[in-house]
Amino acid sequence: MEKTFTKNVKQALNNPVLRANYRKALDALAEKRKTAFADISLELPARREAAYALRLNSLHKLPELLSQLEQKLNENGIHVHWAQTPQEANQIAESILRQNNAKKIIKGKSMITEEIRLNDYLEEHGFNVIESDLGEFIVQLAGEKPAHIVAPIIYKNKEQVAKLFAEKLNFHGSSAEELTHAARQFLRKEFYSADAGLSGVNFAVAQTGTLCLVENEGNGRFCTTIPPLHIAFMSLEKVVEKFSDVPLLYSMLCRSASGQKITVYFNMISKPRQKDEKDGPQHVHLIILDNNRSTILSDPLLRKTLLCIRCGACMNNCPVYTNIGGHAYDAAIPGPIGKILMPQIAGMEKYGHLATASSLCAACVEVCPVKIPITDILLKLRAQATSLKNLSFKQRLYSGKLAEKIAFMLWAYIFSSPLRYKLFLKMLHAFPALIPLKVRFTPMLRQWTKTRDFPMPR
């Protein structure tokens, strides 16, 4: 995995189109986020604090909230299933689909289904799965993977999309508008005829048994409204205690993700079609996934990884992500949050190296709406990965582990202040001989400095 990662990084850094696509989009997103908070800039610290406290409170009450959620959903007529592993989640979904004789499945954007690789599983088992979020639809057409949790095709420019549509849909057009409307025409037919709709969940309210879904396109609504069967997926930390917790978290999510005060749709799904209702799915199921999260919860620091509301702001503001792009991580969730989440849910052996791919500049920590101490968690994971404990001081010194640690501490010190960082850059320019020294300590940077200058702090 680590080798692939290094290779991916090298390739990404040597691809100027790719880097230009990312840079342009991410700068715009970071800028939008800033303006989105302008009207409440004075309240921002208090709101982040409150959002953090709300999320942490629900984590600490998880067992009771999950039981309450299940009970409420049952009362509302929504079936609840529990899955410990991705494999179990996929199998449960498969069996629900088979029971309902569903073959054609339309899907809304959901990171958890990426995490469990649901599409691959269902397709291997003979189902036809169609992504309906515009970005995910394009990713699927291209046979690729999403590169960002909010903007899946951030790595593509519109010429590349136009070429893809010409090849796969026999549609010829070039503007974003034409391409978007072509996708609308194509997908309407699929919404019309799908046997089942799949979706994720942004927040699940224990108090009322309500599944909240945030979106702009309306495809999430189609998936959860038109087909006779709706299956929702959530990881267990998505539950919140009360409905009154929702407005703040929703607002923080919108503003941080895309710089909007509010998204076009906020869907509060509470029940399948009722006796006197004319539409809505007859059957609604929720699959709640653990996938090692119950282990993550046992450490008070690592636990905070699960506060995440998946806004993507940490990626948009990350100098490493901006330069290597989402695909280099080869993970369902890339960027700073991916670096701390993936090793913990999918194993250190597979993803431990991601914990080293950071300059610890803490830009992510600054923007995170729920104040996840991403860099602290990274350092802890790094320490686990290098398992310093087993070595004597001398061994550590000679094995380079201690040197690595010191180097990282230095890095953390330099990167944690824009002023220090600027001074450091100046120093590097004045004394280029220093460069090999620092490069020796951070393997990532060796790749990085080969092809580019250090990014200026935003």
């Binding site: 989009a25 409150a50 067992p63 396109e217 189609f222």
Partner: protein, 248 residues
Amino acid sequence: MHESNYKRRSAILSRVKVALSNLDPEQIQTQTQAQTSKNKLPEQARSESSLAASFAKNLNQQFLQNMTGNSALCFECQEEEIPALLHKLLVQEKIKSLVLSGQPQVEKIFQQTLNQAQEDTAFSCDFFRFENNLEELKERLFEVAASLEKAHSGLAETGSLVIRSTKETPRSLSLIPPIHIVLLSSKNIYANFETYLSASKLSSRSSLENTLLISGPSKTADIELTLVQGIHGPLKLIVILYNEAKKL
């Protein structure tokens, strides 16, 4: 299947319980923090709402401004003026077919619109009510040009409509037709989502119907972050904010 679901459930919940028994020094502190911040937020919202009540006009203006900012086409009028406005809109937007919600008020207003339009010989608009199940109406719903319904309420701060799904206002009415026309009484505008929640006593309710916030026509910026209006949901959202006629 059922039994194994129960087993998996117990396994997960007991692991979570054990994991959380490792207390966080911050835990007690944050719990009280969560309490105070939660108390603080609705309170702030409440004061905003009482303030807002005395400036109802401002609330309407704020709603219209933000709804327009969300790319909806907005109109403000008196209740009795709706039929004439609707007639004008149907002509202007070249709407030749319409699906109506089952709300009596919508029915009445649309009848008045048709009566008014009688003199307009060039005018024609097919319509049907959403009174059968989706399965029976699906084909027509995917072809109809526009829908008309009355929203439950509006949120000024974000320019949002609150739509509750009921037997009279099915979920797909605001989803499938390319143009979505919504009536909203100015009496039903709240300052924001928080005030709406406390006014609808949601905190003491244990269940609710499917509810939706709509803040503009559907949109996407997936291709090069270029904003395009109209992807899967309606291409256009038309909001008619009206002041209720005074009852004699």
